[in-house]
Symmetry: C2
Subunit: 217 residues, 2 copies
Amino acid sequence: MSWKRNNPDPPRGYHHGNLKEELVRAALGLIREKGANGFTFAEAARMAGVSPAAPYRHFRDRDALLADVAARGFEAFALALTKAWDQGRPDAGVAFNRLGAAYLAFAHDEPAYYSAMFEAGLSLDASPELRLAADRAFQVLRHASEALIALLPPEKRPPSLMMALHIWSLSHGVAALFGRADGGRRPLPMSAGELLEAGVLIYLQGLGLGPRGKPAG
Amino acid sequence: MSWKRNNPDPPRGYHHGNLKEELVRAALGLIREKGANGFTFAEAARMAGVSPAAPYRHFRDRDALLADVAARGFEAFALALTKAWDQGRPDAGVAFNRLGAAYLAFAHDEPAYYSAMFEAGLSLDASPELRLAADRAFQVLRHASEALIALLPPEKRPPSLMMALHIWSLSHGVAALFGRADGGRRPLPMSAGELLEAGVLIYLQGLGLGPRGKPAG
DNA sequence: GCCGCCATGTTAGCGCTCGTCACATGAGCT
DNA sequence: AGCTCATGTGACGAGCGCTAACATGGCGGC
């Protein structure tokens, strides 16, 4: 157990000991405050108390740090979605609604992660971990969609991939356009959460899934 | 008629004569190639053949140029949507489908505009024109939604604002996640256009609007 | 217990950008 | 013709990304 720097501020000498983690934390703070593109490598270094060149020992370049943050974001995202889905309990319908709420909650509560994940303009194959983490998050949606679709009579079942993509798109659209507290966007007569919930409800109705996840309302 | 530089390349002296327009064109080219954040003020100046300080005579700063591009984008967008809607002919249903296709076509064919409009992280009140142009584009969707809703029996009519927001969100989500040719995103078994069309269809079905815009399929 | 390796830090520096100055030019009005 | 002011230029300071050469000291081998 090489206990490196669990305690908040051990007097550090020449070697920092935990710089990589600290840089990620600093990046998260900066992205939260100034957006994914306002964030600068140099400032993260300053915030961690090291020279501007130090970060390059841990990340190839600025984008690599961003990609790392994004990958962590997708993992946290996948976790949050999995937890919200909770294996489809008590039934697929309500669990699915929790999923939508969790999506928006994540975008709202973790703007730094969300920024890095979707607004930084990163290609998904900036790193393998990034793509893997993103896929894992999507799989939760995909799985939930399958569970809901299973409630339909076989001849009326849409492709679960398509359904998952629709839900993801609607969620992302709502989050991107109205879900942030940045003030710069359009004021609405309803919250983003209500908007998304209503949208999902109507969509499910369109598939033949009634209000509570039961076929044909 | 102060004919300032309508012809492609009149020998210019000290004064450019049409720098503002040229800068916007240069910006569009750069954004198309390198994304909204790769775009640089200095390079636009270079491209227009002027010194790096010249653009500041026409735009307060880099963001002002971006906002101008975005505003022009929203105007072109509103125009394209209006044209696609074509006053709801031949009927609201097919016209609405054209609207969705036009949305995606715009995102696909004018990536520079779309980038400036949605991915540059601009606040909508960066300039009054920007907000106005954005509102005008949204009004087209709103108007189309109202026309479709009017087909429903009064007691089943959802708020048209909500419906417009749903469509906008779904469209934007599809465009942002899968609609660009940037390659970095996820490969799909269907095109973004088909995905959106199917999604809108299901959504409308959920509202009680059948396949061809007729109530209750 | 000493020594040397090399991961991780430092300083220095290049090339670039944004944005601001004071200054130059010349188009158009009087 | 002469003035004026919008529009262009050149030089500059500050900040950033990234590289190169050098410094430090933690750790394993002897």
